[in-house]
Protein backbone atom coordinates (compact mmCIF):
# COMPACT_ATOMS: atom_id res chain seq x y z
CA UNK A 1 0.00 0.00 0.00
CA UNK A 2 1.69 3.15 -1.13
CA UNK A 3 2.23 6.41 0.61
CA UNK A 4 -0.47 8.32 -1.21
CA UNK A 5 -3.20 5.91 -0.10
CA UNK A 6 -2.06 6.21 3.48
CA UNK A 7 -1.80 9.97 3.24
CA UNK A 8 -5.31 10.37 1.94
CA UNK A 9 -6.72 8.05 4.60
CA UNK A 10 -4.80 10.08 7.17
CA UNK A 11 -6.12 13.30 5.64
CA UNK A 12 -9.74 12.20 5.80
CA UNK A 13 -9.56 10.77 9.30
CA UNK A 14 -7.67 13.83 10.55
CA UNK A 15 -10.31 16.09 8.99
CA UNK A 16 -12.95 14.10 10.87
CA UNK A 17 -11.20 14.92 14.14
CA UNK A 18 -10.98 18.56 13.07
CA UNK A 19 -14.71 18.67 12.31
CA UNK A 20 -15.37 17.13 15.73
CA UNK A 21 -13.56 20.10 17.22
CA UNK A 22 -15.64 22.41 15.10
CA UNK A 23 -18.72 20.74 16.56
CA UNK A 24 -17.48 21.56 20.04
CA UNK A 25 -17.02 25.18 19.05
CA UNK A 26 -20.53 25.87 17.74
CA UNK A 27 -22.89 27.92 19.78
CA UNK A 28 -25.91 28.08 17.53
CA UNK A 29 -28.18 25.13 16.82
CA UNK A 30 -28.57 25.45 13.07
CA UNK A 31 -24.83 25.92 12.60
CA UNK A 32 -24.32 22.85 14.79
CA UNK A 33 -26.54 20.77 12.53
CA UNK A 34 -24.73 21.98 9.42
CA UNK A 35 -21.37 21.09 10.91
CA UNK A 36 -22.76 17.68 11.84
CA UNK A 37 -23.82 17.19 8.22
CA UNK A 38 -20.21 17.99 7.26
CA UNK A 39 -19.02 15.48 9.86
CA UNK A 40 -21.13 12.73 8.36
CA UNK A 41 -19.99 13.72 4.87
CA UNK A 42 -16.32 13.47 5.81
CA UNK A 43 -17.09 10.11 7.43
CA UNK A 44 -18.69 8.87 4.21
CA UNK A 45 -15.60 9.95 2.25
CA UNK A 46 -13.31 8.29 4.74
CA UNK A 47 -15.24 5.01 4.66
CA UNK A 48 -15.33 5.08 0.87
CA UNK A 49 -11.57 5.57 0.76
CA UNK A 50 -11.07 2.69 3.20
CA UNK A 51 -13.26 0.59 0.93
CA UNK A 52 -10.91 1.41 -1.92
CA UNK A 53 -7.73 0.91 0.10
CA UNK A 54 -8.78 -2.38 1.66
CA UNK A 55 -10.47 -3.60 -1.50
CA UNK A 56 -13.70 -4.28 0.41
CA UNK A 57 -16.71 -3.40 -1.74
CA UNK A 58 -19.27 -3.87 1.02
CA UNK A 59 -17.90 -0.79 2.71
CA UNK A 60 -19.11 1.32 -0.21
CA UNK A 61 -22.61 0.45 0.95
CA UNK A 62 -21.78 1.72 4.40
CA UNK A 63 -20.41 4.91 2.92
CA UNK A 64 -23.57 5.48 0.90
CA UNK A 65 -25.78 4.85 3.91
CA UNK A 66 -23.72 7.29 5.96
CA UNK A 67 -23.96 9.87 3.20
CA UNK A 68 -27.66 9.59 2.50
CA UNK A 69 -28.97 9.14 6.00
CA UNK A 70 -26.53 10.86 8.26
CA UNK A 71 -25.31 13.67 6.06
CA UNK A 72 -28.54 14.56 4.33
CA UNK A 73 -31.66 13.06 5.82
CA UNK A 74 -31.13 13.41 9.54
CA UNK A 75 -29.83 17.01 9.49
CA UNK A 76 -32.75 18.02 7.29
CA UNK A 77 -35.23 16.34 9.63
CA UNK A 78 -33.62 17.94 12.66
CA UNK A 79 -33.64 21.35 11.00
CA UNK A 80 -37.35 21.05 10.29
CA UNK A 81 -38.00 19.86 13.79
CA UNK A 82 -36.15 22.77 15.36
CA UNK A 83 -38.16 25.22 13.35
CA UNK A 84 -41.45 23.46 13.98
CA UNK A 85 -40.98 23.03 17.68
CA UNK A 86 -39.56 26.52 18.05
CA UNK A 87 -36.62 25.24 20.03
CA UNK A 88 -34.40 27.81 21.64
CA UNK A 89 -31.75 28.61 19.07
CA UNK A 90 -28.72 28.81 21.27
CA UNK A 91 -26.68 26.02 22.77
CA UNK A 92 -26.04 26.43 26.46
CA UNK A 93 -22.85 24.86 27.66
CA UNK A 94 -21.79 23.63 31.02
CA UNK A 95 -18.09 24.37 30.46
CA UNK A 96 -16.78 27.32 28.44
CA UNK A 97 -15.51 26.86 24.89
CA UNK A 98 -11.84 27.41 25.79
CA UNK A 99 -11.59 24.77 28.51
CA UNK A 100 -13.68 22.40 26.40
CA UNK A 101 -11.22 22.75 23.53
CA UNK A 102 -8.25 22.14 25.80
CA UNK A 103 -9.96 19.10 27.29
CA UNK A 104 -10.64 17.91 23.78
CA UNK A 105 -6.97 18.25 22.88
CA UNK A 106 -6.07 16.28 25.96
CA UNK A 107 -8.49 13.55 25.00
CA UNK A 108 -7.10 13.37 21.47
CA UNK A 109 -3.55 13.11 22.79
CA UNK A 110 -4.63 10.44 25.28
CA UNK A 111 -6.39 8.35 22.68
CA UNK A 112 -3.41 8.51 20.37
CA UNK A 113 -1.01 7.46 23.09
CA UNK A 114 -3.24 4.58 24.17
CA UNK A 115 -4.12 3.27 20.73
CA UNK A 116 -0.66 3.53 19.24
CA UNK A 117 0.91 1.75 22.16
CA UNK A 118 -1.66 -0.98 22.16
CA UNK A 119 -1.82 -1.78 18.46
CA UNK A 120 1.88 -2.16 17.91
CA UNK A 121 1.48 -5.17 15.65
CA UNK A 122 -1.27 -4.10 13.33
CA UNK A 123 -0.75 -2.48 9.95
CA UNK A 124 -0.36 1.33 9.84
CA UNK A 125 -3.65 2.08 8.15
CA UNK A 126 -5.62 0.24 10.84
CA UNK A 127 -3.59 1.85 13.60
CA UNK A 128 -4.11 5.41 12.52
CA UNK A 129 -7.75 4.70 11.81
CA UNK A 130 -8.37 3.33 15.30
CA UNK A 131 -6.46 6.16 16.98
CA UNK A 132 -8.54 8.77 15.19
CA UNK A 133 -11.73 6.83 15.74
CA UNK A 134 -11.18 6.76 19.49
CA UNK A 135 -10.46 10.51 19.37
CA UNK A 136 -13.76 11.15 17.63
CA UNK A 137 -15.59 8.91 20.12
CA UNK A 138 -14.08 10.71 23.09
CA UNK A 139 -14.81 14.12 21.57
CA UNK A 140 -18.42 13.07 21.01
CA UNK A 141 -18.56 11.99 24.63
CA UNK A 142 -17.13 15.35 25.71
CA UNK A 143 -19.78 17.07 23.70
CA UNK A 144 -22.56 15.06 25.31
CA UNK A 145 -21.23 15.86 28.76
CA UNK A 146 -20.77 19.60 28.26
CA UNK A 147 -24.09 20.42 26.64
CA UNK A 148 -27.43 21.16 28.22
CA UNK A 149 -29.63 21.17 25.17
CA UNK A 150 -31.18 17.83 24.25
CA UNK A 151 -30.67 18.34 20.52
CA UNK A 152 -26.98 19.04 20.95
CA UNK A 153 -26.66 15.97 23.15
CA UNK A 154 -28.16 13.93 20.35
CA UNK A 155 -25.73 15.47 17.88
CA UNK A 156 -22.87 14.61 20.23
CA UNK A 157 -24.12 11.03 20.40
CA UNK A 158 -24.38 10.79 16.62
CA UNK A 159 -20.86 12.07 16.19
CA UNK A 160 -19.80 9.39 18.68
CA UNK A 161 -21.47 6.81 16.46
CA UNK A 162 -19.60 8.18 13.48
CA UNK A 163 -16.37 7.53 15.34
CA UNK A 164 -17.48 3.97 15.97
CA UNK A 165 -18.25 3.43 12.31
CA UNK A 166 -14.77 4.69 11.48
CA UNK A 167 -13.27 2.24 13.99
CA UNK A 168 -15.28 -0.63 12.57
CA UNK A 169 -14.12 0.11 9.02
CA UNK A 170 -10.55 0.39 10.23
CA UNK A 171 -10.64 -3.12 11.60
CA UNK A 172 -10.15 -4.95 8.38
CA UNK A 173 -12.61 -7.58 7.38
CA UNK A 174 -14.99 -7.12 10.28
CA UNK A 175 -18.12 -8.75 9.01
CA UNK A 176 -21.68 -7.51 9.15
CA UNK A 177 -21.27 -5.39 12.23
CA UNK A 178 -20.59 -2.33 10.17
CA UNK A 179 -23.91 -2.61 8.41
CA UNK A 180 -25.71 -3.55 11.56
CA UNK A 181 -24.25 -0.73 13.57
CA UNK A 182 -25.16 1.71 10.86
CA UNK A 183 -28.70 0.35 10.78
CA UNK A 184 -28.94 0.59 14.53
CA UNK A 185 -27.70 4.10 14.64
CA UNK A 186 -30.33 5.11 12.13
CA UNK A 187 -32.94 3.32 14.19
CA UNK A 188 -31.80 5.04 17.34
CA UNK A 189 -31.75 8.38 15.62
CA UNK A 190 -35.31 7.98 14.40
CA UNK A 191 -36.61 6.69 17.67
CA UNK A 192 -34.92 9.46 19.56
CA UNK A 193 -36.01 12.16 17.21
CA UNK A 194 -39.51 10.87 16.78
CA UNK A 195 -40.44 10.02 20.28
CA UNK A 196 -38.36 11.94 22.72
CA UNK A 197 -38.15 15.32 21.19
CA UNK A 198 -41.86 15.45 20.60
CA UNK A 199 -42.67 14.08 24.00
CA UNK A 200 -40.18 16.23 25.84
CA UNK A 201 -41.38 19.27 23.98
CA UNK A 202 -44.99 18.33 24.61
CA UNK A 203 -44.40 17.89 28.29
CA UNK A 204 -41.95 20.59 29.08
CA UNK A 205 -42.31 23.23 26.39
CA UNK A 206 -38.55 23.16 26.13
CA UNK A 207 -35.76 20.76 25.33
CA UNK A 208 -33.37 22.21 27.84
CA UNK A 209 -32.42 19.15 29.83
CA UNK A 210 -31.72 21.34 32.84
CA UNK A 211 -35.48 21.69 33.07
CA UNK A 212 -35.65 17.94 33.41
CA UNK A 213 -33.49 18.13 36.50
CA UNK A 214 -36.33 19.30 38.68
CA UNK A 215 -38.02 15.98 37.99
CA UNK A 216 -35.09 13.88 39.04
CA UNK A 217 -36.52 11.43 41.45
CA UNK A 218 -33.52 11.44 43.75
CA UNK A 219 -35.19 13.81 46.17
CA UNK A 220 -37.68 11.14 47.04
Amino acid sequence: MDNLTFDIAHLLAGSLVLVSFMLLYQDRLSALLNVYALHAFVLALSVAWQAYAQDAPHLYVTATIALVFKAILIPVVLHRMIVKLGIHREVETVVGVGPAMLLGMGLVALSMVVMLRVTAEADPLAREDLAFALSVVLLGLLMMVTRRNAVSQIVGFMSLENGLVLAATGAKGMPLVVEISVAFSILIAFIVIGIFLFRIRERFDTVDVAALDSYRGERQ
Binding site: D7, L11, V17, Y25, G98, M105, V108, M112, P124
Partner: protein, 318 residues
Protein backbone atom coordinates in the same frame (compact mmCIF):
# COMPACT_ATOMS: atom_id res chain seq x y z
CA UNK B 1 36.50 32.84 -5.48
CA UNK B 2 33.56 30.68 -4.51
CA UNK B 3 33.62 32.32 -1.10
CA UNK B 4 33.39 35.76 -2.69
CA UNK B 5 30.48 34.68 -4.85
CA UNK B 6 28.61 33.21 -1.91
CA UNK B 7 29.16 36.37 0.07
CA UNK B 8 27.88 38.45 -2.83
CA UNK B 9 24.77 36.30 -3.18
CA UNK B 10 24.05 36.48 0.54
CA UNK B 11 24.58 40.23 0.50
CA UNK B 12 22.30 40.47 -2.49
CA UNK B 13 19.56 38.70 -0.55
CA UNK B 14 19.91 41.08 2.37
CA UNK B 15 19.71 44.06 0.09
CA UNK B 16 16.85 42.61 -1.92
CA UNK B 17 14.82 42.09 1.19
CA UNK B 18 15.46 45.62 2.38
CA UNK B 19 14.53 47.13 -0.96
CA UNK B 20 11.45 45.05 -1.54
CA UNK B 21 9.83 45.58 1.85
CA UNK B 22 8.32 48.99 1.17
CA UNK B 23 7.27 47.82 -2.26
CA UNK B 24 5.19 45.01 -0.80
CA UNK B 25 3.42 47.41 1.52
CA UNK B 26 2.81 49.79 -1.36
CA UNK B 27 1.41 46.96 -3.46
CA UNK B 28 -0.99 45.88 -0.74
CA UNK B 29 -2.22 49.42 -0.24
CA UNK B 30 -2.67 49.98 -3.95
CA UNK B 31 -4.62 46.79 -4.47
CA UNK B 32 -6.84 47.53 -1.45
CA UNK B 33 -7.57 50.99 -2.82
CA UNK B 34 -8.36 49.62 -6.25
CA UNK B 35 -10.70 47.02 -4.79
CA UNK B 36 -12.48 49.84 -3.01
CA UNK B 37 -12.72 51.71 -6.31
CA UNK B 38 -10.28 54.41 -5.26
CA UNK B 39 -7.15 55.52 -7.11
CA UNK B 40 -4.93 54.84 -4.15
CA UNK B 41 -1.39 56.04 -3.53
CA UNK B 42 1.28 55.25 -6.13
CA UNK B 43 3.17 51.97 -5.77
CA UNK B 44 6.41 53.70 -4.78
CA UNK B 45 4.79 55.93 -2.19
CA UNK B 46 6.27 54.08 0.83
CA UNK B 47 9.77 54.87 -0.44
CA UNK B 48 8.90 58.53 -0.65
CA UNK B 49 7.40 58.37 2.84
CA UNK B 50 10.58 56.90 4.22
CA UNK B 51 12.73 59.48 2.48
CA UNK B 52 10.53 62.28 3.77
CA UNK B 53 10.68 61.00 7.31
CA UNK B 54 14.46 60.73 7.18
CA UNK B 55 14.71 64.42 6.38
CA UNK B 56 12.49 65.51 9.22
CA UNK B 57 13.56 66.57 12.65
CA UNK B 58 13.22 64.19 15.56
CA UNK B 59 10.92 65.46 18.29
CA UNK B 60 11.41 63.74 21.60
CA UNK B 61 9.22 63.84 24.68
CA UNK B 62 10.79 65.19 27.85
CA UNK B 63 10.29 61.91 29.63
CA UNK B 64 11.89 59.79 26.91
CA UNK B 65 14.92 57.82 28.05
CA UNK B 66 17.97 56.53 26.18
CA UNK B 67 15.98 53.38 25.47
CA UNK B 68 13.47 55.41 23.51
CA UNK B 69 16.22 56.74 21.27
CA UNK B 70 18.04 53.43 20.88
CA UNK B 71 14.94 51.35 20.24
CA UNK B 72 14.35 52.05 16.55
CA UNK B 73 17.86 50.93 15.69
CA UNK B 74 17.55 47.78 17.77
CA UNK B 75 14.19 46.90 16.29
CA UNK B 76 15.31 47.57 12.76
CA UNK B 77 18.49 45.55 13.16
CA UNK B 78 16.74 42.52 14.64
CA UNK B 79 14.02 42.53 12.04
CA UNK B 80 16.41 43.01 9.13
CA UNK B 81 18.60 40.12 10.24
CA UNK B 82 15.57 37.88 10.67
CA UNK B 83 14.17 38.87 7.28
CA UNK B 84 17.42 38.28 5.47
CA UNK B 85 17.79 34.81 6.89
CA UNK B 86 14.58 33.51 5.32
CA UNK B 87 15.35 31.90 1.96
CA UNK B 88 13.81 34.03 -0.76
CA UNK B 89 15.23 32.99 -4.10
CA UNK B 90 17.72 30.38 -3.05
CA UNK B 91 18.23 27.88 -0.29
CA UNK B 92 21.58 27.02 1.19
CA UNK B 93 23.08 30.49 1.14
CA UNK B 94 26.17 31.37 3.12
CA UNK B 95 24.51 32.18 6.41
CA UNK B 96 21.71 29.70 6.03
CA UNK B 97 23.18 27.46 8.72
CA UNK B 98 22.04 30.08 11.19
CA UNK B 99 18.60 30.36 9.65
CA UNK B 100 16.92 28.27 12.25
CA UNK B 101 13.21 28.93 12.45
CA UNK B 102 13.28 29.11 16.20
CA UNK B 103 16.10 31.64 16.03
CA UNK B 104 14.06 33.77 13.66
CA UNK B 105 11.11 33.67 16.00
CA UNK B 106 13.41 34.64 18.85
CA UNK B 107 14.71 37.64 16.87
CA UNK B 108 11.19 38.77 16.15
CA UNK B 109 10.32 38.33 19.78
CA UNK B 110 13.26 40.50 20.70
CA UNK B 111 12.05 43.22 18.36
CA UNK B 112 8.58 43.02 19.77
CA UNK B 113 9.85 43.24 23.31
CA UNK B 114 11.72 46.45 22.60
CA UNK B 115 8.76 47.89 20.76
CA UNK B 116 6.50 47.21 23.70
CA UNK B 117 9.04 48.86 26.00
CA UNK B 118 9.11 51.88 23.73
CA UNK B 119 5.37 52.17 23.98
CA UNK B 120 5.59 52.20 27.76
CA UNK B 121 8.65 54.42 27.92
CA UNK B 122 7.11 57.80 27.41
CA UNK B 123 4.39 57.25 29.94
CA UNK B 124 1.30 58.09 27.91
CA UNK B 125 -1.81 55.99 28.16
CA UNK B 126 -1.99 55.35 24.44
CA UNK B 127 1.39 53.71 24.54
CA UNK B 128 0.32 51.65 27.50
CA UNK B 129 -2.79 50.41 25.73
CA UNK B 130 -0.82 49.50 22.65
CA UNK B 131 1.87 47.67 24.56
CA UNK B 132 -0.56 45.66 26.66
CA UNK B 133 -2.60 44.65 23.64
CA UNK B 134 0.51 43.78 21.69
CA UNK B 135 1.79 41.55 24.46
CA UNK B 136 -1.61 39.88 24.84
CA UNK B 137 -1.59 39.04 21.17
CA UNK B 138 1.97 37.80 21.45
CA UNK B 139 1.17 35.52 24.37
CA UNK B 140 -1.23 33.61 22.15
CA UNK B 141 0.50 33.91 18.83
CA UNK B 142 3.90 32.71 20.01
CA UNK B 143 2.74 29.27 21.24
CA UNK B 144 0.81 28.83 18.03
CA UNK B 145 3.91 29.74 16.03
CA UNK B 146 6.00 27.29 17.98
CA UNK B 147 3.54 24.47 17.43
CA UNK B 148 3.62 25.27 13.72
CA UNK B 149 7.41 25.04 13.86
CA UNK B 150 7.14 21.67 15.59
CA UNK B 151 4.80 20.39 12.94
CA UNK B 152 7.08 21.48 10.15
CA UNK B 153 10.12 20.14 11.96
CA UNK B 154 8.41 16.78 12.40
CA UNK B 155 7.63 16.67 8.72
CA UNK B 156 11.00 17.83 7.45
CA UNK B 157 13.23 16.47 10.17
CA UNK B 158 14.99 19.73 10.97
CA UNK B 159 14.23 23.29 12.10
CA UNK B 160 16.64 24.82 9.67
CA UNK B 161 14.76 26.69 6.99
CA UNK B 162 16.89 25.69 4.04
CA UNK B 163 16.61 22.02 4.88
CA UNK B 164 12.87 22.40 5.33
CA UNK B 165 12.46 24.18 2.03
CA UNK B 166 14.47 21.57 0.17
CA UNK B 167 12.51 18.76 1.76
CA UNK B 168 9.18 20.36 0.99
CA UNK B 169 10.03 20.84 -2.65
CA UNK B 170 10.99 17.20 -3.02
CA UNK B 171 8.46 14.50 -3.74
CA UNK B 172 8.77 12.75 -0.38
CA UNK B 173 6.36 15.13 1.22
CA UNK B 174 3.17 13.66 -0.11
CA UNK B 175 -0.24 14.93 0.87
CA UNK B 176 -0.28 15.88 4.49
CA UNK B 177 -3.26 17.18 6.37
CA UNK B 178 -0.94 18.53 9.05
CA UNK B 179 0.73 20.80 6.51
CA UNK B 180 -2.63 22.17 5.46
CA UNK B 181 -3.57 22.89 9.05
CA UNK B 182 -0.14 24.40 9.69
CA UNK B 183 -0.57 26.69 6.69
CA UNK B 184 -3.90 27.99 7.91
CA UNK B 185 -2.53 28.48 11.40
CA UNK B 186 0.53 30.27 10.03
CA UNK B 187 -1.63 32.63 8.01
CA UNK B 188 -3.69 33.43 11.08
CA UNK B 189 -0.57 34.05 13.16
CA UNK B 190 0.96 36.17 10.40
CA UNK B 191 -2.14 38.33 10.28
CA UNK B 192 -2.02 38.80 14.03
CA UNK B 193 1.71 39.54 14.17
CA UNK B 194 1.67 42.04 11.34
CA UNK B 195 -1.24 43.98 12.71
CA UNK B 196 -3.47 43.35 9.71
CA UNK B 197 -7.24 43.29 9.50
CA UNK B 198 -9.05 41.48 11.24
CA UNK B 199 -6.73 41.77 14.23
CA UNK B 200 -5.62 45.37 13.86
CA UNK B 201 -6.14 48.02 11.24
CA UNK B 202 -2.81 49.38 9.92
CA UNK B 203 -4.45 52.53 8.64
CA UNK B 204 -6.32 53.54 11.74
CA UNK B 205 -5.63 56.21 14.28
CA UNK B 206 -8.54 55.62 16.60
CA UNK B 207 -7.46 54.69 20.08
CA UNK B 208 -10.13 52.04 20.41
CA UNK B 209 -8.72 50.06 17.53
CA UNK B 210 -4.97 50.69 17.67
CA UNK B 211 -2.40 48.13 18.65
CA UNK B 212 0.77 48.71 16.68
CA UNK B 213 0.09 52.34 15.90
CA UNK B 214 -0.48 53.08 19.56
CA UNK B 215 2.96 51.94 20.52
CA UNK B 216 4.78 54.08 17.94
CA UNK B 217 2.62 57.16 18.39
CA UNK B 218 5.43 59.18 19.98
CA UNK B 219 8.04 58.50 17.32
CA UNK B 220 8.94 60.98 14.62
CA UNK B 221 11.59 61.68 12.02
CA UNK B 222 14.22 59.09 11.30
CA UNK B 223 13.14 57.01 14.29
CA UNK B 224 9.70 56.62 12.80
CA UNK B 225 11.22 55.85 9.43
CA UNK B 226 13.24 53.01 10.90
CA UNK B 227 10.28 51.61 12.76
CA UNK B 228 8.07 51.78 9.68
CA UNK B 229 10.74 50.05 7.65
CA UNK B 230 11.02 47.40 10.36
CA UNK B 231 7.29 46.65 10.27
CA UNK B 232 7.38 46.48 6.49
CA UNK B 233 10.29 44.07 6.75
CA UNK B 234 8.29 41.98 9.19
CA UNK B 235 5.45 41.67 6.70
CA UNK B 236 7.93 40.70 4.02
CA UNK B 237 9.43 38.14 6.37
CA UNK B 238 6.15 36.41 7.01
CA UNK B 239 5.19 36.43 3.35
CA UNK B 240 8.61 35.03 2.41
CA UNK B 241 8.22 32.39 5.10
CA UNK B 242 4.88 31.26 3.74
CA UNK B 243 6.22 31.33 0.21
CA UNK B 244 9.36 29.38 1.05
CA UNK B 245 7.57 26.70 3.04
CA UNK B 246 4.31 26.27 1.24
CA UNK B 247 5.10 27.51 -2.26
CA UNK B 248 8.63 26.18 -2.48
CA UNK B 249 8.84 25.79 -6.26
CA UNK B 250 11.69 27.34 -8.20
CA UNK B 251 13.71 27.81 -5.06
CA UNK B 252 17.30 27.50 -6.21
CA UNK B 253 19.06 24.68 -4.37
CA UNK B 254 22.45 25.02 -2.72
CA UNK B 255 25.36 25.86 -4.94
CA UNK B 256 23.22 26.57 -7.97
CA UNK B 257 24.14 28.32 -11.15
CA UNK B 258 23.41 32.01 -11.64
CA UNK B 259 20.61 31.18 -14.06
CA UNK B 260 18.77 29.23 -11.36
CA UNK B 261 19.31 32.13 -9.00
CA UNK B 262 17.82 34.51 -11.54
CA UNK B 263 14.85 32.23 -12.00
CA UNK B 264 14.57 32.08 -8.23
CA UNK B 265 14.42 35.87 -8.03
CA UNK B 266 11.72 36.07 -10.68
CA UNK B 267 9.72 33.33 -8.98
CA UNK B 268 10.12 35.11 -5.67
CA UNK B 269 8.82 38.35 -7.10
CA UNK B 270 5.85 36.50 -8.51
CA UNK B 271 5.11 34.85 -5.18
CA UNK B 272 5.36 38.21 -3.42
CA UNK B 273 2.96 39.75 -5.87
CA UNK B 274 0.50 36.89 -5.48
CA UNK B 275 0.60 36.93 -1.71
CA UNK B 276 0.30 40.70 -1.58
CA UNK B 277 -2.73 40.56 -3.81
CA UNK B 278 -4.35 37.83 -1.75
CA UNK B 279 -3.65 39.72 1.46
CA UNK B 280 -5.28 42.85 0.08
CA UNK B 281 -8.26 40.81 -1.09
CA UNK B 282 -8.62 39.19 2.32
CA UNK B 283 -8.37 42.50 4.15
CA UNK B 284 -11.08 44.14 2.11
CA UNK B 285 -13.47 41.24 2.47
CA UNK B 286 -13.44 40.93 6.23
CA UNK B 287 -14.25 43.31 9.07
CA UNK B 288 -11.99 44.02 11.99
CA UNK B 289 -12.68 42.01 15.12
CA UNK B 290 -13.29 43.52 18.53
CA UNK B 291 -10.17 43.37 20.64
CA UNK B 292 -11.47 40.86 23.14
CA UNK B 293 -12.31 38.47 20.36
CA UNK B 294 -8.71 38.34 19.24
CA UNK B 295 -7.91 35.66 21.84
CA UNK B 296 -10.59 33.45 20.27
CA UNK B 297 -9.08 33.98 16.84
CA UNK B 298 -5.61 33.16 18.07
CA UNK B 299 -6.95 30.34 20.21
CA UNK B 300 -8.31 28.79 17.04
CA UNK B 301 -4.86 29.13 15.45
CA UNK B 302 -3.30 27.50 18.51
CA UNK B 303 -5.77 24.64 18.42
CA UNK B 304 -5.19 24.07 14.73
CA UNK B 305 -1.45 23.97 15.16
CA UNK B 306 -1.75 21.69 18.21
CA UNK B 307 -3.94 19.35 16.24
CA UNK B 308 -1.51 19.45 13.33
CA UNK B 309 1.30 18.41 15.65
CA UNK B 310 -0.77 15.66 17.23
CA UNK B 311 -1.76 14.32 13.85
CA UNK B 312 1.89 14.10 12.89
CA UNK B 313 2.39 11.47 15.54
CA UNK B 314 -0.07 9.18 13.84
CA UNK B 315 1.36 9.60 10.41
CA UNK B 316 3.67 7.77 8.13
CA UNK B 317 6.27 7.14 10.77
CA UNK B 318 4.09 4.27 11.99
Amino acid sequence: MALMLNLVVQGAQMLLVLLLAPFLTGLVRKVKARLLRRQGPPLLQPYRDLARLMRKEVVLADSASWLFRANPYLIFAATWVAASLVPTFGAGLMFSWSADLIAIIALLGLARFFLALAGLDVGTSFGGIGSSREVMIASLAEPAMLMIVFTLALVAGSTQLSTMAEFLVSSEVGLRVSLGMALIALIMVAIAENARVPVDNPATHLELTMVHEAMVLEYSGRHLALIDLASELKLLLYVSLIACLFLPWELAPQGALPESLAFGVIAYLAKLGLCGFLLALFETSIAKMRVFRVPEFLGAALMLSLLATLLMFVSRSL
